[in-house]
């Protein structure tokens, strides 16, 4: 496994997710990243793939997820591709901050974490009907 790049392809299921996460963490063990940068890479992976597994899958067929990890000196780039239902994460609005338990929304924070961790992200729906989401994170030194 290259310390600087990794390509994963897995079914959009909980088992596929867990196995892919294990492979990702193995690659990150060999990359020279600060603990904070590493945590953010894992967090972005967690939030994007969880969204695909939970919302992108369709009842009549399996969704396949591809993830590419590229570790450079200054940045880490994660590229996610899936053939699930169209979803542009840029359209999602972060939940407003709640000041009490009673008024707090239960969920909806995943993409907020991705935006907070990333220095750049981009989305497109490809001509072969895939969602393609590219997230760039700065390497803290």
């Amino acid at each position: 496994m290259d310390a600087h790049s990794l390509e994963l392809s897995f079914p959009g299921t909980l088992v596929g997710f867990e196995e892919a996460f294990t492979q990702l963490r193995g690659a990150l063990d060999n990359a020279d990243l600060s603990p904070g940068t590493r945590y953010n890479v894992e967090l972005v992976f967690e939030e994007i793939v969880a969204n695909i597994v939970r919302h992108g899958c369709q009842p009549d067929r399996k969704v396949i997820v591809s993830v590419t990890l590229e570790v450079g000196r200054e940045s880490v780039i994660l590229t996610f591709c899936d053939d699930g239902v169209p979803f542009d994460p840029r359209d999602r609005i972060d939940p407003p901050p709640a000041k009490s338990l009673e008024e707090a929304p239960i969920g909806g924070r995943g993409l907020m974490f991705v935006r907070h961790a990333a220095t750049a992200f981009d989305y497109c729906r490809t001509s072969d009907q895939h969602n393609r989401f590219v997230v760039t994170l700065a390497c803290a030194r």
């Binding site: 909980l14 997710f17 867990e18 996460f21 603990p35 904070g36 945590y39 894992e42 967090l43 967690e46 939030e47 793939v49 969880a50 597994v53 901050p97 709640a98 000041k99 009490s100 338990l101 009673e102 707090a104 239960i106 969920g107 924070r109 995943g110 907020m112 974490f113 907070h116």
Partner: protein, 113 residues
């Protein structure tokens, strides 16, 4: 992900979570944790010192359990998150929703309160 639930001490249940609160980890423990605390309206404190990772699904789980406990005259307090988890919690302003304290003693005092 492991879940350890101790017998109540002075009316407070101490729960220890060990491992990763990613999607697979939350899936492994959420049902049992909810069933252990909510029906009895527990006043519970959750030790996060051995949790290496948490994302939005973990936060969702804590808020869901805290809301259910509040309806049942119970309470949920988290304590001792590792620094990187604490940063995630601050991004979500979680402490405004579910209290987070530095240690078991202050968490238990708040849960009892």
């Amino acid at each position: 992900m492991k879940l350890e639930i101790a017998e109540p001490v002075d009316g407070v249940v101490n729960v220890a979570l060990i491992g990763r609160l990613d999607t697979p980890g939350v899936d492994k423990i959420e049902t049992k944790l909810t069933a252990s605390l909510v029906p009895r309206g527990a006043r519970a404190i959750v030790d996060l010192s051995q949790v290496e990772f948490a994302g939005s699904l973990a936060i969702r789980m804590f808020i869901t359990i805290a809301k259910a406990l509040a309806r049942n005259n119970g309470k949920l307090v988290l304590y001792a998150p590792q620094p990187l988890l604490q940063q995630v919690f601050e991004t979500a302003s979680l402490n405004d929703i579910v209290p987070i304290r530095a240690d078991a003693a202050t968490a238990a005092a708040l849960a009892r309160g």
